[in-house]
């Protein structure tokens, strides 16, 4: 349709057999609603990336996909279990939409909330909108606190303030998502890669509930997978906190020089003020060499970090076309649209 923007949804699938039929039903409902109300945004495809699912997810999706009533359902089968992020990136690279929405398989991210994500985008032509839970997602203080706490810690270490907002329910400009997914290596954290391309990132408060965790007390994530996430977040980011090592090193060198001059002065003009001989020079040498080592290590880490980021594909620049944003903004602001 002329004058409409296309939306692709991407869902990585690992063990969602009991939720998939309902999820597709809800997606169809939203899709039909947008079509019937002539929205300027239309869901053109829903991509399900089956990441070596451990249940019947693949069979369920294939049955639905082979049904001619669902030409908009696309199923991609990965050769082995690569993890949620690689599966999402695969879906992104197979998408065609002007806008992409990534969501989990278990209805934690409900399709009826899609329009809310667009409302947040419309405020200032954002490139990425992350869903932010209004209330407790897991209804478990420990689980929610743990999730928030580790994101805050990583944000401090990496000096990337957006880390706190990272969420797998996200609306992303298609061109930026595909570019980010193109450069990702197997250790790159997808959301960090998105931050290489844009800082027009915002959040939208939504009701998100991890039904699987609430009902069964289990999650598709265990402690090891969360630690693995944290590790990849750090590896993908420039660990700016390590620059602190260089400053401590320089401070140590300056302090050792200042103390050296001070004790030299004492040695010449007031030798009695130094009761134990030898300790001063040993202490100052250790302070100087320790500072020098710390500074040099920081420089080496900076080099390695720079090489690592270049190797992971951090771009020099990227262009974006936001000219069609006005169409959605007008619509969401209830202004007449010129088709």
């Amino acid at each position: 349709m002329e004058g409409t923007l296309s939306v692709s949804t991407i869902t990585p699938v690992y063990c969602g057999a009991q939720y998939l039929e309902e999820l597709i039903k809800q997606l169809e409902r939203v899709r039909q609603e947008w079509q019937s109300k002539n929205y300027p945004i239309q869901i053109v495809e829903s991509i399900f990336v089956v990441d070596a699912a451990k249940d019947d997810s693949l069979a369920i999706l294939k049955t639905i996909s082979n049904n001619k009533a669902y030409p908009w359902i696309k199923v991609i089968e990965l050769s082995k279990n690569f993890g949620q992020h690689p599966a999402t990136m695969c879906g992104v690279l197979y998408s065609t939409g002007d806008w992409l929405i990534t969501l989990d398989e278990d209805l934690q991210h409900h399709p009826r909330e899609f329009i809310e994500l667009f409302k947040a985008f419309a405020a200032s032509s954002y490139d990425v909108v992350y869903a932010k839970p209004k209330d407790s997602v897991h209804q478990s203080l420990f689980r929610d606190w743990g999730s928030r706490g580790y994101k805050k810690l990583i944000a401090k270490i990496t000096k990337n303030p957006f880390v706190i907002d990272f969420n797998s329910f996200r609306l992303i400009r298609g061109s930026i998502a595909r570019a980010a997914a193109s450069v990702c290596g197997h250790e790159t954290y997808f959301d960090v890669a998105i931050c290489w391309f844009t800082n027009k990132i915002t959040t939208q408060k939504l009701s998100l509930e991890d039904q699987r965790y609430i009902n069964t007390g289990t999650s598709s994530y265990n402690l090891f997978s969360l630690l693995s996430h944290a590790r990849r977040l750090i590896v993908s980011s420039q660990t700016k906190i390590l620059r602190l090592g260089a400053w401590i090193g320089i401070a140590s060198i300056l302090l050792s020089v200042a103390l050296g001059l001070h004790f030299l002065y004492l040695k010449i003009y007031d030798p009695e003020a130094i009761p134990v001989r030898g300790w001063t020079s040993l202490y100052l040498t250790l302070l100087f060499m320790g500072g020098l080592t710390s500074t040099l290590l920081s420089i080496i880490i900076e080099y390695l970090s720079s090489i690592s980021l270049q190797n992971q594909g951090k771009p020099l620049f990227f262009m974006v076309d936001r000219s069609s944003d006005a169409l959605i903004q007008k619509f969401l602001n209830h202004e007449p649209i010129d088709h």
Binding site: I73, T96, S182, V183, F318, M319
Partner: protein, 338 residues
């Protein structure tokens, strides 16, 4: 223009490729060249006739096609009759993969090409009318999904072509001509392949796809001008995959279960994966292990996305992944230059 010949005594192979098969390839560009190499290297076809088509001198085209017709009648039909005592079945496949016009072609350019195509259809008509009964013909025509559906997204099998430029109009007219032509035939098998953006072997001094140009310039540290944007989406398909699709089309053309009446199919030759120029750049840089230089000539027309919905691959032939495809082009180049 060339004719490839396959006379198989091997019963196993004869089950997949018809025992006596001649393939006439008009246009040995990216697709025609790949088909030639695929048939020779994979199925052991031999050169039978190889003459350069005088595309630049339009006055000679008609005579050239007449020569081809004479050759086919004398060297194929008559000799098969005498040598093999009229075989029960000889397959003659025609592949039209010619065409100089690209997206930048003018109406004058496409008029010239239409005339050539008209001469080719005349040739087919004559051969069809005079062919012996044991000869079964099929036609494989390469069209352009990009030209027909330019600016359209989520194109489906039943989407209506809406060309925006002369090149697309040419392809649409050619498709219509084949459809009209095939309607008068009592027995005919044909396939129109609507190809997305084809890439393949690096061929110096000849027309190549964008990917091959980027690779060639990347290898020589030269700048590649691109009329589009980094985020422009296209479906890129390797020429060898198209060759596999056409070969499968030829194999399935005269199978016993096929209806004896005329049968014209319109199929899409796609990889089913939309790819941005940025992704191609990232893949090429990964393989070349250095940055490549790009200069953008922003023209709004060329920056339009062309994307496809869920479309069945022709004859179940799945195209290779873009990463493998680019690596294949590079491996091929290194093989030829080391």
């Amino acid at each position: 223009m060339l004719i490839l010949q396959k006379i198989s005594q091997n019963k196993t192979l004869a089950a997949t490729i018809n025992q006596i098969h001649y393939v006439v390839i008009i246009g040995e560009g990216l697709v025609g060249g790949a088909l030639r190499d695929y048939l020779i290297n994979t199925f052991n076809y031999k050169f039978f006739y190889n003459v350069k088509t005088p595309w630049t001198d339009k006055t000679l085209i008609e005579a050239h096609f007449n020569e081809l017709k004479t050759f086919i009648f004398e060297k194929i039909f008559n000799s098969q009759k005498t040598e093999l005592a009229a075989p029960s079945f000889l397959q003659l496949s025609f592949v039209w993969s010619a065409g100089k016009a690209g997206f930048a072609a003018s109406f004058t350019d496409i008029d010239e090409e239409e005339k050539d195509f008209h001469s080719f259809l005349n040739l087919l008509t004559q051969i069809d009318q005079e062919r012996p009964a044991f000869v079964k013909m099929d036609l494989h025509f390469t069209s352009s999904a990009g030209g027909l559906f330019e600016g359209q997204s989520s194109v489906q099998e039943d989407s209506q072509p809406h060309p925006l430029r002369p090149y697309g109009i040419l392809k649409l007219r050619q498709e219509q001509k084949i459809t009209e032509w095939s309607q008068n035939k009592s027995y005919f098998h044909g396939v129109i392949y609507r190809l997305s953006t084809v890439y393949g072997r690096i061929r110096r001094g000849q027309r190549m796809g964008l990917i091959s140009i980027m690779l060639q310039n990347g290898l020589h540290k030269k700048i590649t001008p691109i009329t589009g944007d980094l985020y422009t989406l296209r479906d890129y398909v390797h020429s060898m995959d198209i060759a596999r699709m056409i070969t499968s089309g030829m194999i399935s053309s005269h199978k016993p279960h096929k209806s004896p009446s005329n049968n014209l199919q319109v199929l899409f030759g796609l990889s089913q994966k939309p790819t941005s120029i940025f992704e191609i750049k990232a893949i090429i840089e990964f393989h070349l292990k250095h940055k490549i230089y790009i200069q953008f000539n922003h023209t709004p027309g060329n920056a339009r996305d062309i994307t496809f919905g869920k479309i069945q691959p022709p004859f179940e032939v799945q195209a290779r992944d873009i990463r493998s495809g680019i690596k294949d082009v590079l491996t091929d180049w290194y093989g030829a230059h080391t």
